[in-house]
C-alpha cells in the first residue's frame, strides 16, 4: 500500500465506477401496465385502477410533483370518476432511469393489478416497457417522455401520449426562424443524448426547408458540462445571427445565465425548445432569461377560458402556477375520462379503440387538440420570457398553428 502506482490504479477503478453513476442515473423512467384488473362491464359502474408512475425522487422529482398535481386536480374537479368508473390511483416512483422506472411500471402492473398506467418522464423507460404492456395488454398514457419512436417507429397499440414529441416542438421553431429574418445563419446546440439529437434534427429539417442555413452545431457532453464558455465563443465566431438550443433542468439554468454573462444575449438572440424556460428553471435563471424565445405546446399565460380556469384552480390549490407537465397529465385524465365513457372493457385494446374515437379535446388548457395516430396534433406557441408584476413568465407572442409529430 506504500506504492502510489497501486493506489493510482485503485483510484482509477474507483472513479471509473463513480463516472458511470450519473450516466446510469440519466436515463431512467418506468412504464406500468395493469395486471389483473377489474373486469367491469362496459360503462356499467365499477372501478378503474390507474398506476401513476412519475418521478418522486432524483433530478426529475419536480416534474413528478407537477404531474401528480395535474392528475389530482382533474380528478378533484370531476368527482374522481372516469365515465361511470370510480378512479383508484396507485402512485409509484419512476426515479431517474429505466433502472428504477421499469421496475416501478412492472410493480403497478403485476402487484397492484392496475388497468391503466399513466406518467413517465424518461423516454428510455417509455421505450423499455413497450413489451411489458404488449404482453399484459394494458394501456399506457405517456404524459411527458418526448422520444419520437414511442409513437413512431417503435409504436405499439398500447402506448398513447398526451404530451409532445421532441422534434414536434423544435420543428415549429425551425419554420418560424426561417420566416423571421434569420435565414443567413443560426447556430444550433443541444446535449449529446437522444432527446438533444431529435430536437436538433427536427429544427434543422424545417429551418433548411424554409431556406435557412445552420452555420454551426455543437453537442456539449450531457450531464457533464457546467461551463459553456467554449461553446459560447464558437457561437460568437460562427457569425450566427441567432442561437437555437435545447437544454433542460440545471443545464438550462447554467446555459441561459452564462449566455447572458458572456455578453451574447445582447447581440445574438437566444431561441430554444420550450423546456429551456419551462417550470422551475425560470425563476432560477432570473433576469438572464429575459427576452429568450421558445416554442412549446403550452404556457400558463395562454389566453383561453379553459386555461384561465385551470391556472386559477391550480394556483389556488397548490400556491404556484402550473407547468406544461401539469397540463399534460391533467389532459391524460381528461382523455381517459372520454375514452371510458364509451370503452366496452378496461383492457388495453378496448381503451385504445375508444381513445381513437374521442375526437377533438376542446376543453384542454393548451387549446383544442386531437390524437393524430397516438400522439397529439396540437397548437405550438412562440413564447417570450417577460417580467409581469415582478415575476418571470413565458408570455405568448404568437400562435404558430397546429402541428403533429414530424415524420
Amino acid at each position: 500500500m506504500e506504492h502510489p502506482s497501486i493506489s493510482r490504479r485503485r483510484l482509477l477503478a474507483l472513479f471509473g465506477a463513480a463516472a458511470s453513476v450519473p450516466v446510469l442515473a440519466a436515463c431512467g423512467s418506468s412504464v406500468g401496465g395493469g395486471g389483473g384488473g377489474a373486469p367491469a362491464g362496459g360503462g356499467g359502474g365499477g372501478a378503474v385502477k390507474v398506476g401513476l408512475v412519475v418521478p418522486q425522487s432524483g433530478v426529475y422529482a419536480a416534474l413528478g410533483t407537477d404531474m401528480q398535481r395535474g392528475w389530482e386536480l382533474w380528478l378533484g374537479q370531476n368527482g374522481g370518476k372516469f365515465g361511470n368508473y370510480t378512479v383508484e390511483t396507485v402512485v409509484a416512483d419512476e426515479g431517474e432511469t429505466p433502472n428504477t422506472g421499469q421496475p416501478a411500471v412492472q410493480k403497478v402492473l403485476q402487484s397492484d393489478n392496475v388497468d391503466v398506467v399513466v406518467g413517465l418522464v424518461n423516454s428510455a423507460t417509455a421505450l423499455g416497457v413497450a413489451n411489458l404492456l404488449t404482453e399484459s395488454k394494458k394501456l399506457l398514457v405517456v404524459t411527458n417522455a418526448g422520444a419520437g419512436d414511442v409513437t413512431g417507429a417503435k409504436r405499439t397499440p398500447y402506448i398513447w401520449r398526451t404530451s409532445f414529441t421532441n422534434a414536434q416542438v423544435s420543428a415549429a421553431m425551425g419554420t418560424h426562424l426561417a420566416q423571421s429574418g434569420f435565414k443567413d445563419g443560426v447556430f444550433a446546440l443541444a446535449p449529446d443524448y437522444a432527446a438533444g439529437t431529435e430536437v436538433i434534427a427536427g429544427f434543422t429539417k424545417t429551418f433548411e426547408a424554409g431556406g435557412g442555413k445552420v452555420v454551426g452545431t455543437a453537442k456539449p457532453a450531457f450531464g457533464k458540462t457546467s461551463d459553456y464558455q467554449p461553446f459560447l465563443t464558437q457561437i460568437q465566431q460562427s457569425g450566427a445571427k441567432a442561437t437555437f438550443c435545447f437544454f433542460s433542468g440545471s443545464e438550462a439554468i447554467t446555459f441561459v445565465r452564462q449566455y447572458a454573462q458572456f455578453g451574447l444575449a445582447s447581440t445574438i438572440p437566444l431561441y430554444g425548445s420550450g423546456f429551456l424556460t419551462e417550470g422551475n428553471v425560470l425563476p432560477q435563471q432570473g433576469d438572464a432569461a429575459l427576452g429568450v424565445q421558445t416554442t412549446l405546446h403550452y404556457s400558463d399565460q395562454l389566453d383561453n377560458p379553459a386555461n384561465k380556469a385551470f391556472v386559477e384552480s391550480y394556483t389556488a390549490k397548490y400556491g404556484e402556477s402550473p407547468s406544461c407537465f401539469s397540463a399534460q397529465t391533467y389532459d391524460a385524465a381528461n382523455v381517459l375520462n372520454r375514452a371510458l365513457r364509451t370503452a366496452t372493457a378496461l383492457d388495453g385494446d378496448s381503451i385504445a379503440g375508444a381513445l381513437g374515437g374521442i375526437g377533438t379535446v376542446e376543453d384542454s388548457p393548451r387549446g383544442p387538440w386531437t390524437f393524430d395516430g397516438q400522439t397529439p396534433k396540437q397548437n405550438l406557441y412562440l413564447r417570450k420570457v417577460e417580467k409581469v408584476n415582478g415575476t418571470l413568465v413565458n408570455a405568448v407572442v404568437q400562435d404558430l398553428g397546429q402541428q403533429s409529430q414530424p415524420l
Binding site: M1, E2, H3, P4, S5, I6, S7, R8, R10, L11, L12, L14, F15, A18, A19, V21, P22, A25, S57, G58, V59, A61, A62, D192, A218, K219, P220, A221, G223, K224, T225, S226, D227, Q229, P230, F231, T233, Q234, Q236, G249, S250, I253, T254, R257, Q258, Q261, F262, G263, L264, N280, Q284, Q285, G286
Partner: protein, 288 residues
C-alpha cells in the same frame, strides 16, 4: 480563443484550491478521501443559502471555513483506525461518508438545482480582449492565485510546511523524531477540507449547487492529483492549471471530443509518467 485561455485559468485556479487538500492528504497520509467532493458541495450550498450581498458571501466563506475544519477533523478521526488497512478500506469509508452527506444535503436543500448569484458589483461583465467576460471569473483568478501563493509559501517556506513535507517523504522517520503523526494528519486534513469548502463557496456562482456536483468535482480533483503527482503543492497547481486549459481550450478547439479530452490527457500522463508530472519516484511520493 484568448477568452477560452482566460477562462481556463479561472477554472484551473478554482480546481487548485479544491485539489491541493486532496493531494496532500493522499500523498502524506495515504488516505484517499472520497468525501472531498461532498465538502465542496457543502460549501456550494452554504453559498447558495447566504447568496445575495457581500455580507452573505463573506459569511458563507467564514461558515464554510468552520465547517471545513470540523469536517476535516472528523474525517481524520474516522480514518484513524484504518491507518494500517488498505487504501480500499479508507476509500470505502470516505465514499460512505460522501454518500450520506450527499443524501443529507438533498434532504435539506431539495433536489432542485440552485443557482448562486455573485456578490453585488461582480455579477456583471467587463470587456476583455474586446468581448464580454464575467467579472466574477476574473476575480476568481486573482483570489485563486493569492491562495495558491499562500499555500505554496506555507508548505515550502515555513517550519510547519517542512514538517508536512517531511511527513510526505518519510512518515516513519518523522515519527521516530518524536512528532505525533496523527496531529499532523488531522491538521492537514482540516486545512485541506477548509480549502475544499472554500472552493465550494467560490465556485457557487460558476457551477451552482446541485445534487451530483460533488461527484463531478471529485473526479476533476482526482484527475488533477493523478496528473500533478501526490503530495505536491506545485504538482497540484500545475495539474489544476493544465486541466483547466485542457478542459476549456480543448472543448473549444475540438468540440466533438469534449467528453473525452480530459480523460485522454489523463491517460497520456499515466502512460508517459505514471507517478504524475511532479510526483517522486514510486514509493516516496515527494513534495518538492
Amino acid at each position: 480563443m484568448l477568452v477560452s485561455v482566460l477562462n481556463g485559468f479561472s477554472v484551473g485556479f478554482l480546481l487548485f484550491v479544491l485539489a491541493v487538500g486532496l493531494s496532500i492528504v493522499f500523498g502524506m497520509m495515504d488516505v484517499l478521501n472520497l468525501a472531498h467532493g461532498a465538502l465542496f458541495l457543502c460549501g456550494a450550498y452554504l453559498g447558495a443559502t447566504f447568496a445575495g450581498g457581500w455580507g452573505g458571501f463573506l459569511g458563507a466563506l467564514g461558515l464554510a471555513a468552520v465547517f471545513g475544519l470540523v469536517g476535516g477533523g472528523l474525517l481524520s478521526l474516522m480514518t484513524e483506525p484504518l491507518r494500517k488497512r488498505s487504501h480500499l478500506d479508507q476509500a470505502l469509508l470516505t465514499l460512505g461518508v460522501a454518500l450520506v452527506a450527499a443524501e443529507v444535503l438533498a434532504i435539506v436543500f431539495g433536489d432542485d438545482p440552485l443557482s448562486v448569484a455573485a456578490p453585488p458589483g461582480l455579477n456583471d461583465s467587463v470587456q476583455v480582449f474586446g468581448v464580454s467576460y464575467p467579472t466574477y471569473r476574473l476575480v476568481i483568478i486573482g483570489v485563486g492565485a493569492v491562495l495558491a501563493l499562500a499555500v505554496y509559501l506555507v508548505v515550502e517556506r515555513t517550519r510547519l510546511g517542512a514538517l508536512v513535507r517531511a511527513t510526505v517523504a518519510d512518515r516513519e522517520m518523522v515519527s521516530v523524531l518524536g512528532v505525533d503523526n496523527r496531529l499532523v494528519k488531522a491538521a492537514v486534513f482540516a486545512i485541506g477540507s477548509v480549502l475544499a469548502t472554500t472552493a465550494g463557496v467560490l465556485g457557487g456562482p460558476i457551477y451552482g449547487a446541485r445534487p451530483g456536483l460533488d461527484a463531478t468535482v471529485l473526479i476533476l480533483a482526482l484527475v488533477v492529483v493523478v496528473i500533478g503527482g501526490l503530495g505536491s503543492v506545485r504538482g497540484a497547481l500545475i495539474g489544476a492549471l493544465i486541466i483547466g486549459q485542457v478542459d476549456i481550450v480543448g472543448k473549444y478547439l475540438l468540440p466533438d471530443l469534449s467528453s473525452f479530452i480530459l480523460f485522454a490527457a489523463l491517460a497520456l500522463v499515466l502512460v508517459l509518467r505514471p507517478q504524475g508530472l511532479f510526483g517522486g519516484p514510486v514509493g516516496t511520493a515527494g513534495a518538492r
